[in-house]
Symmetry: C2
Subunit: 107 residues, 2 copies
DNA sequence: TTATCATATAAGTATATAATTATGTGAGAT
DNA sequence: ATCTCACATAATTATATACTTATATGATAA
């Protein structure tokens, strides 16, 4: 794979917030409002991180009702997947970030 | 593995220069003067990149005569190794950077 | 329609990072 | 001892990045 392209993707993953988002998305898709709540960050900040991940083709979005859901968009056998495999699972991430987590009302 | 620690390592790899260095080191150790020549960058700049890689335990250095050689310092089964596996091999990297390469006199 | 909610985007600011220039260090050669 | 050579470190500057505040959009609800 190309050097430059890899560096760009790795730079995106080299941010704690984005890496956490990717880790959460391993398990299931999440809407922006959930991520805002889990990460305890402003909505614009989360949206901007998601935009960057999407621009590099790491996530994809789906609009359903008034919510936008993000999901992983990576190949199972890629080096990206290996990185995500090495991350803590969703439950651990949620515990680290929130102590405990109850979802918002985007069912 | 810990979230934060992974993000720090990935951030280091998310730089074209450092990723190239890691790719070159896949094949064999290199001295600083060779890397300076190959990367076509100033010596202080290369040294600083190497220092960061070393600080995160990604490379190790050996001093022999007046030269300092750097080599990879990663576990074979780590996600880092998977990333490096996805990189172009040394020959491709050298061709991309130099067209062709003749080593300096640190034999 | 208007109001509200979820999200995106834009603009501004503060911090982090990479590169340059200048200088320090330590080993070998003379 | 002095002079280089290979490299490291420090200080500065320029650029990139993340976050905040403010605003826009588009869908739903009233």
């Amino acid at each position: 794979m190309l050097n430059t392209e890899m560096a760009e993707k790795l730079k995106l993953l080299g941010d704690k917030t984005r890496l956490t988002i990717m880790g959460l998305l391993k398990d299931k898709e999440w809407c922006v409002c959930d991520l805002v709540d889990i990460l305890n960050m402003s909505q614009p900040s989360v949206s901007q991180h998601l935009r960057k991940l999407k621009a590099q083709g790491l996530v994809k979005e789906t609009k359903r009702a008034q919510w936008v859901y993000y999901a992983l968009d990576i190949e199972k056998d890629s080096y990206i997947q290996t990185i995500l495999d090495a991350l803590p699972d969703t439950e651990s991430l949620l515990f680290l970030l929130k102590g405990e987590y109850t979802p918002c009302d985007c069912k």
